[in-house]
């Protein structure tokens, strides 16, 4: 198991370096090998965790506090599965998208390094190493945005400032934890931290930094321009995967480090911010002018549901994780389709989408399927995630969430069908379908179908998520 965990990080890291250094066919080969290897290692790790339970891994035999301690439990494995699954498919999409495009030169090293950073974040058992992983993720993600130049450059620079601020707020919290107990190992911190004011300040600082990086309302201002102006594969990665990284870390420290005295006030605040995010993000998506802007604002809205787990607790935790996975798949599919629309039509202006389904039938079909999950209609992962959240809300008589979740569902239907409805319009002359291109049509379809397939596979996911009881003391 140790080798699988190490390879999950090492393979994309090495492949990223090679993608930077090499040229020509060799480069393509190593990129392909890197994606395949990283996916295989992730699959092996997930199987191990599902079978044997959570494990601590000391790399090179060094133990805490000096060694880099990795820890793989159900929550880590779940997010690594998401990363590898979405990552592999988006890589296939990107290979087609960037074929013969100079922008691809910057894409592959950044994306593979980002992959390594995310897996490192999911596996680390150390608060400080999590900071290093966060920075790696932030810097490479900014690169993915800025590489498109123009408006994306400005968006990327804004994103960089935001992500650095978030990381440093988090790091300040880590420093306070060290000042309090003299250790930054998560397990040691969980045992050593009492309900002291310093611990509360540390949690508040870390939460603030991570919420900023997760683009939680009202700290979401940076996300729509960044995600909407990046190249489509980068947008898919950023919306589908990257924001899940900081969210994961927040869930992790909330449950595993500060669990004994998680702050009820802070939890309620995050829940209310979540509701506000759902309403505000959806409203912005409903009035957005461009498909990619709409999809980006939808991310702002969907992040809101994830936050509802903090006040709800209990079953809402796996519910929110499942929702995050469904969102990752569906959102990546939507951005992939948005990219195809922009390339095929030369624009992604919603007002000019009339009859576009005739041009890109498979693309709009995938968009609609992904929309099913995003809206939270059955059968989909989004539906089951909402079901678990709603059940938790009903259990505790939380009327706010009981009302907000269906309201968000309807608003999501509103913006998804803004794209679908005009595309179904009949033109006087039937548009000629654009020829089928495997790289363009297959990845979003596969991603969207996977989001729907989650609608039938909650049971194994819950088993995986229970390994190591990541939410054991939480809520």
């Amino acid at each position: 198991m140790a080798w699988a965990a190490a390879w999950v990080i090492a393979i994309p890291c090495v492949a990223g370096a090679l993608a930077f250094a090499l040229r020509g066919a060799l480069r393509g080969l190593f990129i392909a090998l890197g994606v395949a290897g990283a996916t295989a290692a992730a699959a092996a790790l997930v199987v191990f965790v599902a079978r044997d339970g959570a494990r601590d891994l000391a790399l090179g035999g060094w133990l805490a506090p000096l060694g880099i301690r990795l820890r793989a439990d159900g929550l880590s494995a779940f997010f690594i599965a998401l990363q590898a699954g979405v990552g592999a498919i988006v890589s296939g999409y990107a290979a087609g998208y960037f074929a013969g495009d100079r922008e691809g030169k910057a894409f592959w090293p950044l994306w593979l390094t980002l992959w390594a950073g995310l897996c490192g974040l999911y596996l680390t058992g150390d608060l400080f190493n999590a900071y290093v992983a966060l920075e790696l993720i932030g810097v490479t993600a900014v690169g993915l945005v800025a590489a498109s130049g123009g408006a994306a450059l400005v968006a990327g620079l804004r994103y960089l400032i935001v992500t650095l601020t978030g990381s440093l707020l988090y790091l300040a919290g880590v420093a306070l934890v060290y000042a309090e107990i003299g250790a930054v190992d998560m397990e040691a911190a969980a045992q050593g931290l009492g309900p002291s004011p310093v611990a509360h300040v540390a949690l508040a600082l870390m939460a603030a930094g991570l919420l900023l990086k997760t683009a939680v309302f009202p700290m979401h201002f940076w996300l729509p321009p960044a995600h909407a102006n990046a190249a489509a594969p980068a947008s898919a990665i950023l919306s589908g995967l990257v924001i899940k990284g900081s969210f994961y870390l927040l869930v992790r420290i909330w449950n595993d480090v500060f669990s004994a005295h998680a702050d009820d006030m802070l939890a309620e605040l995050m829940g209310v911010l979540g509701v506000a995010a759902v309403i505000w993000g959806s409203a912005q998506a409903i009035v957005a002018a461009r498909v990619k802007m709409l999809v980006a604002y939808s991310t702002v809205a969907q992040v809101g549901y994830l936050l509802m787990a903090f006040p709800l607790g209990g079953d809402a935790w796996p519910g929110a994780m499942y929702f995050a996975a469904a969102h990752g798949l569906a959102k990546a599919a939507m951005f992939a389709v948005a990219g195809a629309i922009a390339r095929e039509l030369g624009h992604d202006d919603i007002a000019k989408l009339g009859g576009a389904a005739g041009t890109l039938p498979a693309g709009f079909f995938a968009f609609a399927l992904a929309g099913v999950s995003l809206i939270g209609l059955p059968p989909s992962g989004g539906f089951l995630g909402k079901w678990l959240l709603l059940s938790a809300a009903a259990d505790h008589d939380h009327m706010l969430y009981l009302a907000a979740i269906p309201a968000g569902t309807l608003m999501a239907a509103g913006y998804v069908f803004r794209v679908i409805a005009p595309a179904l319009a009949e033109l006087r002359r039937a548009p000629r379908p654009s020829p089928w291109r495997l790289w363009r049509e297959a990845p979003p379809l596969v991603l969207a179908l996977a989001a729907l397939a989650l609608g039938f596979s909650l049971s194994p996911a819950l088993v995986l998520l229970s390994r190591g009881a990541p939410f054991g003391g939480g809520g």
Partner: protein
């Protein structure tokens, strides 16, 4: 008041000032320097907290600070490159939403600063995905001279 507390208070003070700077400053380079001060404040706190008198200081925070400095320097260099690139492309080192209305905005070719705040993507950012007039090369340096 122990020396650790003095250092801690100093770190908190400079951290707070730096957060203010990062939010309030208009030029991006100013924000970046503020972020560096934020980082330095945290490092100060870490090193101060490593004191375990009368024993020798804990070495672990020093390793963390070294790592942190490397990370910060790398990120700073990267940010500077991006800022130079933006100045070259847009003729301004200020993010559109920070540009003062009126005179300061007019210096920006992108016409930023008009739509502010929420949904505050300026026009240029609302443009459909497609090649920009500057070409698609990701990292050309600014022109010399």
């Amino acid at each position: 008041m122990s020396s650790v507390e003095i250092y801690g208070a100093a770190a908190a003070l400079s951290f707070g000032l730096a957060v203010y700077g990062a939010i309030a400053a208009r030029p991006v380079i100013h924000k970046l320097v503020s972020l560096n001060v934020m980082g330095a404040s945290v490092f100060l706190l870490l090193v101060a907290a490593s004191a375990r008198p009368p024993a020798a200081p804990d070495p672990v925070p020093h390793a963390m600070v070294i790592t942190g400095i490397v990370v910060t320097v790398a990120a700073t260099g990267y940010a500077v490159a991006l800022i130079r690139r933006m100045e070259w492309e847009r003729g301004s080192g200020v993010l559109p939403e920070d540009a003062a209305p009126g005179g300061a905005a007019s210096e920006q070719p992108g016409g930023g600063g008009r739509e502010r705040g929420e949904g505050g993507a300026p026009e240029a950012e609302n443009a459909a995905e497609g090649p920009t007039e500057e070409g698609r090369s990701p990292w050309p340096g600014p022109p010399r001279g």
